[in-house]
Structure formats: structure tokens, C-alpha cells
Subunit: 304 residues, 2 copies
């Protein structure tokens, strides 16, 4: 017995003590009610209702079953109703994913602000730098910083661009002169961002000319903040997004290098799992995120 229909019908008949009455309430015919009850009795293997053409009452089994099922059915309907409610755009669960460095800077304010606006949303925030297969760990939206989503099988949305600069501590240039062209970078120790054991390749662009340089050096890390700390200590040069370095640049703790050789900007994108249609709550977050970012972090990002 997997169909709740007959159970509902039976309960209504038991409540009313009438097949015809139940049919009226349920908007069907007495014949259908008869068959539904018969199906249930067949499935449970026992007679539930005592029928005379004029009066209907429940057997002992029927009474117990009615008592047992009514509560369950109410719970079930409540659950279903709640589930349907959860599809509203302002409540439910939202599993976010963001990169470590950006997440640590951005999420505290973002989450506080979002929770204020949408208090009925349960948030689950996961900071991870691996560009996880979105299917791997459950996730509704992933904030990513990447070059240019070549992946055509995933759904993504560009939010803004992320300027980057090569930075270094001023102390670094006390003995060695600042580089004037990308090729001169070879003279410095470079700090690479990445998961691999291969150093980064930095691409510079001036007017129409383009230079690619290997970031030679002994340190590779998958964490931008760590690289930044090393830069502060004079450990070398690093190509880092502005949202990490902007404060240090403003205070003079670090200096940008090769300002006239811009580095292609990264994209700040939202990645979605392969939705058929964007869930309402996810759409809500997307909009909120876009507005929040433009209003609160315009310094380190660029809208084109």
C-alpha cells in the first residue's frame, strides 16, 4: 500500500460514517469511494468498515487503523506543505562555497548583511580553494575566482573583474633596482600561487604586446594570504589580487610593480550546479551578492 489516496478516503468515510457523504466531500462518486476502501482492505488484509446499506461503522481493526493513520497523515501533509513553503525565495537552506582568501574577507560582512535581510535562511558556508567538482560536495552556489570559465558543462555567471598586481615590499628594492619590463622579473625571487609543484606563468600586457614570464622562485602556496605575508617580510614578489594587497599598498607596506604592464584581470564568478531552473533562493542570493559587492567592495573589484 503505497498510495495514500485510499487511506484518505477511508478516513473520511470513517469520520462521516457514510460512503456517499465522503464522496461528496472528496468531490468524487460513491462508486469510487467503495472501490478505494475495498483496495485498502485488500491491501491490509482485513475488513475495516461494517456496511449496511443504511449505516456504516468501523470494525475494531478499522478504528485502530483510523486512529493510527490520522496522525501520520497530518504529519505527512504538514511536511509536504512545509517543503512546498521552502521553495519560496526567502527561506530554506543555502550551501555556499567560496575561496579561502576572498571568503575570509568577504563572507563575514556578506553573511551578516544577508542574514539581516533574510532571517529565515539557513546558511552553510564552506571555504575551500580547490576548484571542487561542484557535484562532489553538496553546494548550491560557489563563488570562484578564475581566469575564464572554459567549462561549458557548468552554469556560471560573471559578477565582476578582479584586478591583480605584482607586489613587493619596498625593502626589496633597496639593493636591487625595480624591474622596468617583465623580463627583468627573472632577477627576483617569485612567490607562486597554485596547487601544483610548477611555478606560475605570469602574463603581462602593454598596448598590444604580450609577455609571459615564469615566476621563478622556491615558494609555491595555494593560499594568497600566506604569499602576501611572505611578501610583507620581503620574501619576494607575488602576483596577487588587489583585494589582498590594496590595504598594504595604501599604507605603503607593499608597492605595486610594473604598473604600466597590466596583468589580465581574473573573473569573479558564481558557479551553479547543473540546475534545470535556478531555485528561487539561489536567485535571491545571486542578486543580493551582486548588489552587496558593488556597494561594499568596489575598491578592489572592477565592473566593466
Amino acid at each position: 500500500m503505497d498510495d495514500l489516496g485510499p487511506i484518505r478516503v477511508f478516513l473520511e468515510v470513517a469520520r462521516q460514517s457514510s460512503f456517499t457523504g465522503a464522496a461528496r466531500v472528496l468531490g468524487t462518486t460513491p462508486a469510487s469511494v467503495t472501490r478505494a476502501v475495498a483496495r485498502l482492505e485488500e491491501a491490509l488484509g482485513q475488513q475495516l468498515l461494517l456496511r449496511t446499506t443504511r449505516r456504516v461503522s468501523t470494525t475494531s481493526a478499522g478504528a485502530m487503523i483510523a486512529a493510527r493513520y490520522t496522525g501520520l497523515l497530518e504529519e505527512f501533509d504538514a511536511a509536504t506543505e512545509q517543503i512546498r513553503q521552502e521553495s519560496l525565495p526567502d527561506r530554506g537552506q543555502l550551501r555556499l562555497n567560496a575561496p579561502m582568501s576572498l571568503g575570509l574577507r568577504l563572507m563575514p560582512g556578506l553573511v551578516e548583511s544577508f542574514r539581516l535581510a533574510y532571517p529565515h535562511v539557513q546558511l552553510q558556508i564552506r571555504l575551500t580553494d580547490r576548484l571542487i567538482d561542484i557535484m562532489e560536495e553538496p553546494c548550491d552556489v560557489a563563488i570562484r575566482i578564475s581566469q575564464a570559465p572554459a567549462d561549458k558543462s557548468t552554469i556560471w555567471r560573471k559578477i565582476c573583474e578582479v584586478p591583480r598586481h605584482v607586489v613587493a615590499a619596498p625593502a626589496l628594492f633597496e639593493r636591487v633596482s625595480r624591474p622596468q619590463t617583465p623580463d627583468e622579473i627573472d632577477r627576483f625571487s617569485c612567490l607562486s600561487y597554485g596547487d601544483t609543484s610548477e611555478p606560475e606563468t605570469w602574463t603581462f600586457q602593454k598596448d598590444r604586446s604580450r609577455r609571459q614570464v615564469q615566476a621563478r622562485g622556491d615558494v609555491i602556496s595555494n593560499n594568497g594570504d600566506l604569499l602576501y605575508e611572505l611578501v610583507l617580510k620581503g620574501g619576494g614578489m607575488a602576483l596577487l589580487p588587489d583585494f589582498i594587497t590594496s590595504e598594504g599598498v595604501a599604507s605603503g607596506a607593499v608597492e605595486t610593480v610594473l604598473d604600466d604592464w597590466p596583468v589580465p584581470m581574473l573573473w569573479l564568478t558564481l558557479f551553479y550546479p547543473p540546475y534545470e531552473k535556478l531555485p528561487p533562493l539561489v536567485a535571491t542570493f545571486t542578486d543580493f551578492f551582486e548588489v552587496y559587492l558593488e556597494e561594499n567592495a568596489s575598491g578592489a573589484f572592477r565592473w566593466s
Copy 2:
């Protein structure tokens, strides 16, 4: 969404993270699984599973729904299983109905004995003298004492016969001589059993001759025990079943009258509501009752 099938399918897919695997477990085809999940998503109005041809995971909504429904479904199955268990012949609920006078004498011992034999049966015992419409108040078996079930719409079963005698206190005959024929009953005050305001009509039978006599008197009661008490006090004669009078007859407190003019015996019968098929527990009780009565009360009843 009234069909639990799709929910079960969805839960299995979520557990396995695979449509094909779920199909294998559920003994169906992947195509069917796809459609079942699609139906559920349609009914709930939101996407529950994220599919790639190679990997499956749940959306936020799907995860919550899975969590919410699994418990409910287990409860539901447990209830269904229990209900199926209740159809066994030695457990469940049994609603009994018996006449007042017989019930008070019979039920204490019967119930004690029955509970010993069937400890998992819930008994509900109702003593009432009205020959209730069995459909009126819920009842699984009704013990009745009646003339001869003419009612053809009800199911009944004759257990044994109930001898009756006209009894009176010995003191009654100190001044007036005992009646020798039914007609002489007119000389005494008679105590009638019944619900109406009409006195009883007593039928006597000797050989092939038959006499009907109006039980003239000023007292009518629907309770045999009350009549018996009145008889003990010398209030008149009454036609009472032996199970009420036998003790008094044995001790000499009352005497039977017109012993050579027997009164047609009543029937002790079990009445059932209009069952399609006798429920197992009811059948159990019926058998138990028959055996118990023969073994414990053979004095006041007669098997033919």
C-alpha cells in the same frame, strides 16, 4: 502528491547517488526511476536532484526533503506493519457486548480466563440489556439471550439453550396453594421482564398442548436480578432463566413452579456485525467462549 512510490524512489536515488543503482535495488528500470523522480519534482515544484550523466547529487531542497521524509516513511511503514500484525488471531482489540445479568455472572471468570490465554488482546466490555442495533455502538461480538433470531440481516451463532422456570418464594404458598396449571397463575402477582410497559406473555408447553398466559402484575423491570430479588422477598412469581435462580433453588430460597409445564428455552447466541468474513480474533473468541461455557457453566445451560 499522494503516491509514496516516487518518494521511495527518490530516497533510494539520493542514498545511492545513482539512478541505475536505485533501479537495481528497487527491481525496476532506470527509465522508470527517472520518471518517478520527475513526477516528485513536478509535484513539489522544485528540483531535487542534480544530474550529470555521470554523477548525481541532491539540491539543498532535495537534501532537506530526504531528511524530512525518511523518518516519516519509516514511521508509516512501521504503522502499516503493525496493522498487518494486528490481524493475527491472538492480538488486537476486542469489543464485547453482553446482557447485564448474564454478563455480571459470566464475564469476570470468562475475561480472567481469556486474558490468561490471550494476553495481547485489549478487551472492551459493555454490559447492556437493550438489544442494540449492533451498528449503533461499535462492537465486535455481542452475547445475547433471545427467543429465536428472526432477524435475517444479522449474523448470529447459537451457542446453547437457556432453560427458564417460573419461580417463587416458598412463603408465597403458605396461604395460597401452588398453581397446578398455567391458568391458575392469574391468582398470583407476576413480575414481568421487559422494556415496555406491557406485561410479559408466558408460554407453557405440556406434551402437545400449549398455553399462553398474561403475567399480570404491577412490576415490570428490564433487569432479571432485580426481579429475582423481589421474588426472594415474596413479591410474586417471575419467569427467570436458571442461571439467575439455580442457586436459590438449590438452597431452597425459591421454588420452581409448574415443573411439568416447561417453558420454551431461550437461546444463548453470539451476534456479529455484518462481517464479510469473521475476523481471526473474533473467531478465536467465539471458539474460546463456546468451550469456556461448556466447561464452566453447564449447570444452568443446555446443549442440544
